[in-house]
Symmetry: C2
Subunit: 671 residues, 2 copies
């Protein structure tokens, strides 16, 4: 193959050695996969990928996800050579502070990077979400003769990706949903870090994906560009099944240690790098060599991309002329805008006299009100919609016979659900949400963290948020989950205290465009805590606010509650006031929102000099020291819950208004 | 089938209505699966299961796992009827405070419950670990003519279990490992909570498991006991493949709403319950009815079990006579004992003059020293052994050609790894460990939480524990993971500061029999912090200890560090002391161990009146308020990391000895 170096081969070798040189210079990184998979990525990018390097935000571009994020240099090479704003100097600064070329691709850091990858399996599952969004938007907005949304979602996936459960979950759902425009190139190189894949991965991958309802193509020789091209064409031709193209490749192709784990995760070293360049007829110097012919050849992507987008803009103009309302709505959705008056009427959902209502229930009402105006709102549950109250009544089920449905059925697959919701958000055009019990947030932490790192608007609904769920017992009762979610940077966690705060929580979530939001709701019924027709609950937007106080003076004690326990703080406050104590009750639905307020506001709610502070939450006490310090008290859990009716559990674990009042009295007595 | 009620049918209907009555009485629970799957469970328990109800701890019993834990009443019925110490009164107290019949089965709460289930997929994956342990022990200890360890591992698994990624991961590995004594009955009832499984689960499950290398049997009619029996025999006959028996069942069998999601998760209601009893010729009263013939019939399990164990005891006596050393060692392992002098020499591994060494590196040395004496120590990594340094040199690879190997290769399957390690611990006879990067702890939280809830000795090694891993960047740099692990009740988290503390951390982990331990190690090299030949590092067993102080008087300021940043606290302390400040440096490798100490000890380390406290950790500041309060300071991270060499990151994020000293000076100045 290398006897007659063609332009193709020169381009592929350029990709290989940009990667190997960058890893060598950084003294860290992963040369093996870029060297092995370069022919796959090259063929896809050069012969198929619809993109405009000068406008990475073009909505109808094909999406490409590099699921094995450790092969980042392959992507950086492609982006550089096809004309994205990623100069060679950035590739020379691979993995250095302030560069656009971090160790793993990061969304928002590098133009053309569609998502942050690195934790294996995530790219696979997020790509499924992108394909869902494409299908949804196409179904809603395309019109006969106007295929405005019509692109593929491609990914390169590795052995490691296919071993991760999240990929299995997403693959099964993608097959069920018949996402025919999803095309994955499987870099099947038989090697993982501990050695041969036979050690831990003897399964028949092709047969497995066939079982999921995928079209499986290959195995083909990944170095045979014609075979790769033919397979991609065949994949495109099947509109009813996602496709997995099994490509046999050689990790570290060209290196003396090719085909071994040795070339996976460290620089080749001078000797091997030189040897590889020798084998592939590559000049030893300079490093980061890009032949002019390759630059010209792969740089054609700029012109192709410009023309492609111009064509699309023309199509869109015709569409907008024929369907002005749809076009305007689509543009707004793609921008992520909220329509005018999107939140009108929310405040009126829960007038005085609203009966006791679980916050999952009030959430369901808010959600169903919101979707009337916010067309982009789409989501579903991991097989718990009747319990999480997240079904959008009258909005259909997204599936093979109705792709315009707003209700997703994720199956019992929390992990993939998180990733798919993220992928939908990344695609743009949707405001997606997931839903499950708070307990199962543990199953979906990796994608939640990625969403936080990427800063995308993904919404995660978690109901059944404490021992308040009762009889299902400690396997289903979260105690540590609130803290462990609050610990994820840039994830906003909101646990409203009543129906009105619930409406405000949804408002906050939709307004939070810079990161994901976790919405935490109760299973059990809750009273309205404010009596002012909902104005007070707007304090939720600041994270914490004074819900009630006994008088105007500086309080002797501050009681702080979140969610379903705020009612206990309030009752305890009134009880203490009756006893002559000067008391303030603070509703604190969100640590993150509160911590983002100016110091003056925070001081106005929690004055430094008032150290008698009691927090109450039906969750671990740990963490509340942030607000009550070494001198305060927390009424909460010390360990796991138990199986019994909720009211029994609150009594047995001592999470009551009486306990709050007693803790407050004790603190006051100590002062 | 019900025209001629046989003893079998009477028994099955007893199981069905014990469940339906209990759910009805509790006003909460899941009648559908017990009613549908009762024939499967009955056939297995009555005709196959090797167990001794009067000794649930018999080591060579078959293991049975109810993966859909919400069907708990099916298991409670079986345990009651086969003679376990679970009186009918307990079934009447289903889901009530203090009963032995919690909403989901809980290990340690109810005799005969092999593990806690409820979160779907976990039972499936834990059972794989039990089968691993059986195979390992059999290979190590059985001798020709002495099959001392020789039992099956059975599980009932549901649609939901099979949708979860953790089950996919475990299934693939079980196939690779050819665990022929693993037999799963798949309760294939076509229904999940949101409706038909077609909504989200159109895959061909049988073909998928075939692809994993399983023997797939059926589909059979789950109500046809003969078919179930024949399939189990066929499963037993294949020694080289795990078996999945696909059993078509009808959820809520007998109820008017049978075969619908309606019967899944709530009481049938009076009318339907009466109707079901009518359909199945069951007396309407009394509730919890157990016919005497059923009692006698299923109660035969007691005699069968006694004889089975007596036979085994005889066999074991013969084995012990022939192989006294092996027998003694096996008995000790099964008891979970540590051998005499198991920790001898650990303290000498790192004498004065030990070079700079990453704690992952010193951990590898400790682990390899320990396995010489602690034969039960067995584990492995999710394809990161070369990086986590967890390979046991010379101890073989557990796999199809060598089942006595101590090294497990889990593949890139962190979630199943956690579950399998737990299953190994639950089986008994092994002290299992897992290993991956701390970042990927997020993938395995559900099994870690279960281990903590169950109180089992599972060890989780996490390396690459901070920005100190450098160039791999924020996708791989944990910042919130320490706190989110510390948040899990009964999980002990230990982050040692140097090689000696690392040895002590392993000691603490092995000594902790009441729960799991997470061992947190650095990628980067660390100096020895003590200069006394390792006596001081024993302070680790108390969680935190005074590492150094400038004088005998009450300190003006206390500096607290964990792991790789303790060196910064120490350097800052010496710097401050040089400037005349009275300072104490506390090494705090484990919050949990420290919090378990008597108040006097805690006060002696962190005196209440010293409020100038600075904590330093290359992780989120959040949480350290527990020890530094509202008046202290934390030197740590506020958000995600970045991709650059480690030393650059420590500087850029301001986590240095200088920053610690500056924070201390500021606090002192404020006082």
């Amino acid at each position: 193959m290398n006897d007659q170096p063609t332009l193709d081969q020169l381009s592929i070798n350029t990709l290989r050695f940009l990667a190997a040189d960058a890893v060598q210079k950084a003294k860290s990184g992963h040369p093996g996969t870029p060297m092995g998979a370069a022919p796959l990525a090259y063929t896809l990018w050069q012969r198929f990928l619809k993109h405009n390097p000068r406008n990475p935000a073009w909505p109808d571009r094909d999406r490409f996800v590099l699921s094995p994020g450790h092969a980042s240099m392959l992507l950086y090479g492609l982006l550089h050579l096809t004309g994205y704003d990623l100069p060679l100097e950035e590739l020379r600064s691979f993995r250095q502070w302030g560069s656009k070329t971090p160790g793993h691709p990061e969304y928002g850091e590098t133009p053309g990077v569609e998502m942050t990858t690195g934790p294996l399996g995530q790219g696979f599952a997020h790509a499924v979400g992108m394909a869902v969004a494409e299908r949804w938007l196409a179904e809603h907005y395309n019109r006969p003769g106007h295929a405005i949304i019509d692109h593929h979602t491609y990914a390169l996936v590795s052995d490691g990706d296919l071993q991760e459960g999240v990929a299995s979950e997403a693959a099964s759902l993608a097959g069920t949903l018949k996402l025919g425009k999803l095309i994955f190139l499987y870099d099947d190189n038989d090697i993982q870090i501990e050695g041969s894949t036979d050690l831990a991965f003897a399964e028949n991958v092709a047969r497995r994906f066939d079982a999921y309802g995928w079209q499986v193509l290959g195995p083909i020789d990944g170095n045979d560009l014609g075979a790769v091209e033919a397979a991609i064409r065949q994949a495109q031709a099947d509109a009813a099944r996602p496709s997995l193209i099994v490509c046999k490749t050689v990790i570290g192709f060209g290196s003396p240690e090719q085909g071994t784990a040795k070339v996976h995760g460290e620089p080749l070293g001078d000797a091997s790098l030189r040897a590889a360049k020798g084998v592939l007829d590559w000049p030893l110097e300079p490093a980061f060599y890009v032949p002019d012919v390759v630059k010209a050849h792969m740089g054609q992507a700029v012109a192709r991309g410009r023309i492609a987008e111009e064509d699309w803009q023309e199509q869109f103009a015709a569409y907008a002329a024929a369907y002005p309302d749809e076009a305007a709505e689509l543009v707004g959705q793609l921008r992520g805008d909220l329509p005018a008056d999107w939140d009108a009427g929310l405040v009126d959902l829960f007038p005085a006299g609203t009966p006791l209502m679980a916050s999952r229930e009030s959430s369901g009402k808010v959600l169903n009100a919101l979707v009337q105006r916010v067309h982009a709102l789409t989501g579903g549950s991991a097989d718990l919609a009747p319990s999480t109250k997240t079904h959008l009544a009258g909005y259909g089920d997204f599936g093979w016979d109705e792709y315009c449905g707003h209700n997703m059925h994720f199956g019992v697959r929390e992990h993939a659900m998180g990733a798919i919701v993220n992928g939908m958000a990344l695609h743009g055009g949707l405001i997606p949400y997931s839903a499950t019990f708070l307990q199962f947030a543990d199953y979906m932490r990796p994608p939640m963290r990625l969403a936080a790192l990427m800063g995308i608007r993904a919404l995660y609904v978690f109901t059944h948020d404490s021992i308040g769920l009762g009889e299902d017992g400690p396997t289903h009762q979260p105690v540590e989950h609130l803290l462990s979610l609050r610990a994820i940077p840039n994830l906003t966690v909101i646990r409203p205290a009543d129906a009105r705060e619930t409406a405000e929580a949804w408002r906050a979530a939709l307004l939070n465009r810079g990161g994901p939001t976790a919405l935490i709701f109760s299973r059990q019924a809750l009273p309205l805590l404010s009596d002012d027709d909902g104005q007070q609950a707007k304090g939720l937007q600041r994270g914490a606010y004074i819900l009630w106080q006994s008088g105007a003076s500086q309080p002797q004690v501050i009681l702080i509650g979140s969610g379903s326990e705020t009612q206990f703080a309030l009752a305890a406050g009134k009880q203490l006031a009756t006893g002559g104590v000067s008391v303030r009750v603070v509703s604190m639905p969100s640590w993150e929102l509160f911590d983002r307020q100016p110091a003056e506001y925070r001081e106005s709610v929690l004055p430094t000099e008032v150290r008698a502070r009691v927090a109450v939450e039906a969750a671990l006490k740990l963490g509340w020291e942030r607000y009550v310090g070494l001198d305060g008290a927390v009424v909460g859990m010390d360990g796991f819950g138990a199986s019994a009716p909720a009211n029994v559990l609150y009594e047995k674990f001592g999470i009551t208004a009486e306990a709050v009042a007693a803790a407050a009295r004790k603190l006051i007595a100590q002062e």
